[in-house]
Symmetry: C2
Subunit: 455 residues, 2 copies
């Protein structure tokens, strides 16, 4: 057991996972956690559900309370902003809420500082009534605006995960919702054909969707805000949410001589080590090893942050674990639909030198004779030459076990399985929940037929 | 492409899959399918839902109609009972409904004749009002009895999958239901602790459950039937369902010199070949290769029958495929609960020379702050020495993605993964559907902690 002074910058998924793991394996470790706000270990993925009203008490979004964290032997320094890392002295400097500087000496340092919302360089982006959503404080500002101004309408810029969840949330709150997206489809982490299903769902729920809408500026329009496109289309609403993605928060690290790479994220190896000894990084501030590509990419996700944090934590106390890698597995609930994906889409696979073939199937989620069967759409992608499974996208009904079906595919890709091997898996069947060949296996069979080779 | 006269005995999962696959790969193949009843390709797993009334038209239980099957180039011989296989002449003899004998010459033969209900040697087992449930005709007899006699109560002997589903079905039909089971718990393919959850569910739904009830006899009691135990307990009802399992239908094969093995099932290798050249067997009449055990066992399941049939069919037309093996993955819906399992339980693993450790966890199916989160119970089993994942059992709410969560574990076991590797999988997360660590990963972490070694 190593006697260890561990400093962790960041109190979200990566930082907490690192700290808990270090303490679990090495109870002598002293952990000091520097966090910029007062909300350690919050499920920021849950913020849209707080804003929708489905979560009535924001405090329940905490995986653990501050007390519970401290009881795990993690000393919290809330409202402290890390201002410098000094590797030569093995120190982190931080400023508290009053601006007083504090020095945190470390034996090991984990940077889990997260990402920041992308702020597009648009005129009007700073106007009152324009919001971003990433951290807990963002949601408070948003909630306060909803409560005090009682807006009746919102324009959401960006049709990614947060944009989609917030469209759902704001319809629930009774607002009139418009979504504008630069690209020609929504939820562009999915192929356009599947994005089309989501768009239809949005429209059926009353959301107005504008694809191919390149925002030029946001401008005041009386008490309201107008979002204007380069094509001079104008949508006016009471408030605007900008949800166009995030970037890694890596300035602090870079200033300390820590290398950054893909999209400015902190370079890490699979042990989550940076280029500077004794300094680790994990989560949305760091690069993500992609298991299928065999190289680092940038794919900030809560699941990944937990895993990377845990590995960083283990390695700070003498462990020797490597991150297994992401497959970009994600799921999202949008009104009554669930969209889930893993691995590579056609275009992504092509770019990486694969010979992808994608095949679409539509199947029932369970035997059609049993009540409430619902159609699900599966797009499965494999490599024509090797038969290797590369990815899948599924869109189906909420309640139809969509997201855990993608997990079967993720487990298969993780293990380098072929399409025919996926078809061989011994998966669960009972008529109310599946078919003797699970939908993902029907997709695999369709793929093999399309590829002209027997499964 | 091989010019091939394929004879298939049996028109259920294995026989149909074999035929379709042979035709798909080798369209010149002539397929003659000898089937004992008039219901080819029926989902016999769906019969309880027909009897429950949830499926209103029994014809919808057919995966394909007879016409659709014939259009696939499969010639059906319904109401034909195969009476002999003569390997020396490569012929099958069958008797039609009128008892006339017919000869079917073959180049390749697939036996997919299925299983038969176990008929315990009990006094009274032949009384009117005593039913079995395996084939479509069984369900018609049962349905006819329900319709004409309007029974108000039933005793179900046996608390396995069919017994449980029929308890659910008969409550739905308004009957008073008693389940008697020889063993001390219900659903004994699960550990007793998890069976206890199912028993509670049954009782909450008004089913009376009697464990440790050894049936001695069934006897008439006026217009009713009494089921009497060796301990002289008596339960009287209007009808009795005997659901104590099945055995392979292998007499025909045995008479032809085909070897039988485990529980009397037809011996097959992983190519689904019997000991006699050109004769294959698949499905409930045949042995089942178990992937974890590396040897044949007997585990009759529809999923397995489909897979084995498909492989047999492929190999009859010159293919060279091996069955990947079963893990005994199963799921069942009982009222509002779903139980799913894969791999080995503790006792099964111990018997096979593993050093099993099983750990129970109770977790929410998704983030507790999001509405409608429900607890699920997971028991995960691994090998203490190697850390290898051996099995899992999950019981949770219907709608909580229980059955497809077991699939993730099945995919992991299929690939020989360890508990820590399961924890590394990149699985889907969104607060309404999971947690950043999926419940199966929380179980893996708990297991590793219990095993005293870091994940």
């Amino acid at each position: 057991m190593i006697k260890n002074k561990l400093v962790v910058i960041g109190g979200s998924d990566a930082g907490i996972s690192a700290s808990l793991r270090a303490r679990e394996l090495s109870p002598n470790t002293e952990v000091a956690m520097i966090l910029a706000d007062r909300y350690p270990n919050f499920s920021i993925c849950g913020l849209p559900f707080y804003l929708s009203g489905e979560v009535t008490d924001w405090k329940t979004l905490a995986h653990r309370t501050a007390d519970e964290i401290e009881k795990q032997g993690i000393r919290l320094f809330p409202d402290h902003r890390a201002t410098a890392i000094i590797p030569d002295r093995k120190e982190v400097l931080a400023a508290d809420a009053e601006g007083r500087s504090k020095t945190f000496p470390y034996d090991r340092l984990v940077i889990g500082i997260g990402g920041v919302s992308l702020v597009p360089n648009l005129p009007g982006i700073d106007l009152p009534g324009v919001f971003f959503l990433r951290w807990v404080a963002d949601s408070f500002a948003f909630q306060e605006y909803l409560a005090s101004r009682r807006p009746k309408s919102i324009v959401i810029i960006g049709a990614g995960y947060i944009g989609m969840e917030m469209a759902d949330a704001m319809i629930r709150r009774g607002l009139s919702v418009s979504v504008v997206e630069f690209l020609p489809s929504v939820l562009t982490t999915f192929d356009p054909a599947l994005g089309g299903i989501v768009r239809t769902e949005l429209e059926q729920q009353g959301v107005q969707v504008f694809n191919g809408f390149a925002v030029e500026r946001i401008e005041p329009a009386g008490n309201r805000l107008s979002v204007r496109s380069v094509a001079a289309d104008i949508i006016t609403a009471d408030m605007v949410l900008v949800a166009v993605g995030s970037r890694p928060e890596s300035d602090l690290a870079r200033s300390a001589g820590i290398e950054t790479g893909v999209k400015g994220a902190i370079c890490v190896n699979r042990r989550m080590e940076t280029n500077i000894p004794h300094i680790y990084a994990a989560g949305d501030c760091a690069e993500t090893y992609h298991r299928l590509l065999g190289k680092n990419t940038y794919l900030p996700l809560g699941t990944t942050a937990h895993k990377q944090g845990r590995i960083a934590g283990e390695n700070t106390v003498g462990g020797n674990r490597e991150y297994s890698g992401t497959l970009g597995t994600q799921s999202v609930k949008i009104f009554n639909r669930v969209a889930a994906r893993t691995g590579l889409k056609d275009d992504e696979a092509l770019k990486e030198g694969f010979s992808p073939l994608s095949v679409d199937v539509e199947t029932w989620d369970h035997k059609a004779y049993y009540p409430h069967a619902k159609k699900m759409r599966i797009r499965i992608t494999g490599d024509k030459k090797t038969g290797k499974l590369l990815g899948a996208q599924i869109i189906g009904a909420y309640g139809a076990e969509v997201s855990k079906r993608i997990d079967t595919v993720a487990a298969a890709i993780h293990n380098g399985m072929t399409m025919e091997a996926l078809n061989d898996l011994d998966l669960a069947y009972t008529p109310p929940l599946s078919s003797p060949w699970d939908p993902v296996q029907m997709a695999a069979q369709a793929w093999s037929q399309a590829n002209g080779r027997p499964v």
